[in-house]
């Protein structure tokens, strides 16, 4: 183990930065050691399961690994404390006056380590690093899962023994025990096209304006919404119709639904151009800014609660009817046009005081359970949080 270097706050900033980088490196190595240790323990368990004669040796190995892992965890805790004290994890030292223009390296919430805080501004770095990191993490976990828990193998994943893994097309929750619906795609049922889904939703809900765009286009549009909202002297401009119903839908990653004066909802598709929704968020029509995206959260309580409930609805639609998840989700979203006018189906009032949240809210829970005849689903009822009897 390397000797502990005592870093006083009297040290010059360059030395502090160097020490911080060094500690971050050590932390990363410790984390890797821990991961390897977990691998070894799982392997030992597997071996002893397959080969009872080797179980004693496996037990010894496991105990040895356990000791090593414990030491690694203790070291990691020490390093973590040092990093925290030196302000790396919280960015606390960035505002210090005598930092010589240098900043402590910052560990950002998505795991990226940035040596100098201003580098974070460089285009694409943040997003790219988060996506890469997520991809690598998924690969590591999937490898581990495939190796040690093959009985949980998803039928659609490639069963060949090569090491490269196909990035699964969607995230599907493992609700494989539903008696009526199977998670396997029924090859006789064709997946509907995105354009058809949008057209049918548009006819079903004429009060809602639907538009689509690519992910990067959306972030520009979200920013422009912020500046439009600030200029309150103008009447709200007519929504720009970005949908290209005649053009190709291969790159579409964001669907925007706007019910004038009621809501703006963002649904993201993953992968782009598919009909698989992966996130949804509700906002007020007068909100704008870079936080407006399908994984963002509104500043208003009513929309925060509807978004939380929408997440559950999305998971339900994905697991019970993956082919039609997008159609169901969009229909369900459109039923919220009456969010501020429809009384609760239980207490018949519009506003109700939620005692636990200490807020006055309209009915924000609209049940999403599908009945077995899945057409003519109108999602017509609405409940206050306290009146809702569902526990989904």
């Amino acid at each position: 183990m390397e000797p502990q270097q005592l870093a006083g706050s009297g040290d010059a900033p360059p030395k502090q930065v160097a020490q911080a980088m060094d500690r971050l490196g050590r932390a990363a190595r410790l984390i890797a050691e821990i991961r390897l240790g977990a691998d070894r323990i799982l392997e030992a368990l597997l071996v002893s399961n397959e080969n009872p004669r080797l179980s004693e040796k496996a037990a010894e190995l496991t105990l040895g690994e356990e000791d090593a892992m414990r030491r690694h965890f203790l070291d990691l805790r020490t390093v973590g404390k040092q990093l925290e004290d030196s302000g790396v994890l919280s960015g606390a030292l960035r505002s210090r006056g005598n930092s010589w223009g240098l900043h402590m390296p910052l560990v950002c919430p998505d795991g990226a380590v940035v040596a100098y805080a201003w580098k974070r501004q460089l285009a694409g770095q943040a997003g790219a690093s988060a996506v890469d990191r997520a991809r690598l993490a998924l690969k590591a976990f999937s490898d581990q899962k495939r190796r040690f828990f093959p009985q949980l193998e998803d039928d659609q994943l490639n069963r060949s023994n090569n090491d490269t893994i196909k990035f699964p097309p969607t995230k599907r929750p493992r609700l494989s025990h539903r008696p009526t619906q199977s998670p396997n795609i029924d090859s006789t049922e064709q997946k509907p096209m995105l354009a058809d889904i949008l057209k049918s939703i548009q006819t079903e809900a004429p009060g809602v304006t639907i538009s689509t765009c690519q992910r990067l286009e959306w972030s520009k549009r979200a920013e422009s919404l912020a500046s439009t909202m600030n200029d309150s002297s103008l009447e709200q401009p007519k929504e720009q119709i970005l949908s290209n119903l005649s053009g190709s839908f291969n790159e579409v990653a964001v669907i925007e639904l706007v019910a004038s004066g009621v809501f703006r909802v963002l649904v993201s598709l993953h992968p782009a151009g598919s009909t698989d929704p992966d996130a949804v968020a509700f906002f007020s029509p007068n909100e704008g800014g870079s936080y407006l995206h399908s994984r963002g959260m509104s500043v208003h309580h009513v929309f925060k609660h509807v978004t939380e409930y929408a997440d559950k609805a999305l998971q339900y639609f994905q697991s019970s009817d993956p082919n039609k998840a997008l159609s169901h989700l969009l229909s369900w979203i459109c039923s919220h046009q009456s969010l501020f006018t429809k009384n609760c189906s239980k207490c018949s009032k519009l506003l109700a005081m939620d005692k636990s949240l200490a807020l006055l809210l309209p009915p924000v829970h609209r049940p999403y359970l599908l009945n077995s005849k899945d057409h003519d689903q109108d999602f017509a009822t609405a409940y206050h949080i306290g009146c809702s009897s569902y526990d989904v």
Binding site: Q236, G261, V262, S284, P285, N286, F303, F340, L351
Partner: protein, 221 residues
């Protein structure tokens, strides 16, 4: 801009309005769970009257004789004028008051200040304030402004605001205040204002509300 409703307190027949009522109204607001105080607020209103240049000539009939000027608490850089007879509203930069002083075509006849406490309650903002007649600081009335932050459409927020108004009235009645809050009803279409809420709507609301407050305070004196 987000939707606002404006109410004023109408004291019961035979009772006079005192500062105690203001304290009681604030206590009602604070009795709701989850309400948090959010500072103070202040708006000011000036009643202008036209100053004829030449006393011998009759005043031109198309010029308004009276003008209301309002400076709103949430728009410190702006000043709004309401011409009730012509149903016109003008939005200007706050420096127009200096211009008015220099021009002397309209002179401020009397002044009303609104000041009080502001509360945040979930997606609602409440402002309860005294309506004070300048310069002697006589209490003319009590107003309450309710703002619903998620919505800007008057039409879509109508039911929400109505229900809030009912909840508020019930709470006030249960705390036995000597009077009730009356909502200011305005036909915005007459002023050429649309469904999307703007500061002009606020100006018109205050204009109408003050007229009712003054009428009710004159009746009770």
């Amino acid at each position: 801009m987000t939707v606002k409703w404006l109410m004023h307190f109408q004291p019961n027949q035979g009772t006079t309005l005192t500062s105690q009522v203001m304290a009681e109204a604030c206590a009602v607001a604070e009795s709701f769970p989850g309400v948090s105080r959010d500072g103070r607020w202040r708006s000011a209103m000036t009643f202008y009257r036209a100053v004829p240049r030449d006393q011998s000539l009759p005043a031109p009939s198309d010029l308004p004789r009276d003008l209301i000027g309002i400076s709103l608490h949430d728009l410190p850089n702006e000043y709004l004028f309401v011409m009730r007879s012509q149903r016109l509203i003008l939005r200007a930069h706050s420096s127009v008051q200096t211009v008015m002083d220099k021009l002397q075509s309209y002179k401020g006849r009397f002044f009303i200040n609104f000041e009080g406490l502001q509360y945040k309650w979930g997606d609602f903002k409440l402002r309860i304030g005294k309506c004070l007649y300048n310069p002697n600081e006589a209490l003319r009335g009590i107003v309450m402004e309710v703002e619903y932050l998620p919505l800007s459409s008057m039409d879509k927020s109508q039911r929400v605001m109505e229900e809030f108004y009912e909840i508020w009235r019930e709470a006030v009645a249960s705390k036995l205040l000597a009077g009730q809050f009356i909502n200011t009803e305005v036909n915005f279409v007459e002023y050429g204002l649309g469904d999307s809420y703007t500061p002009q709507h606020t100006a018109v609301l205050y204009g109408m509300c003050v007229v009712q407050v003054i009428a009710s305070s004159n009746k009770n004196q």
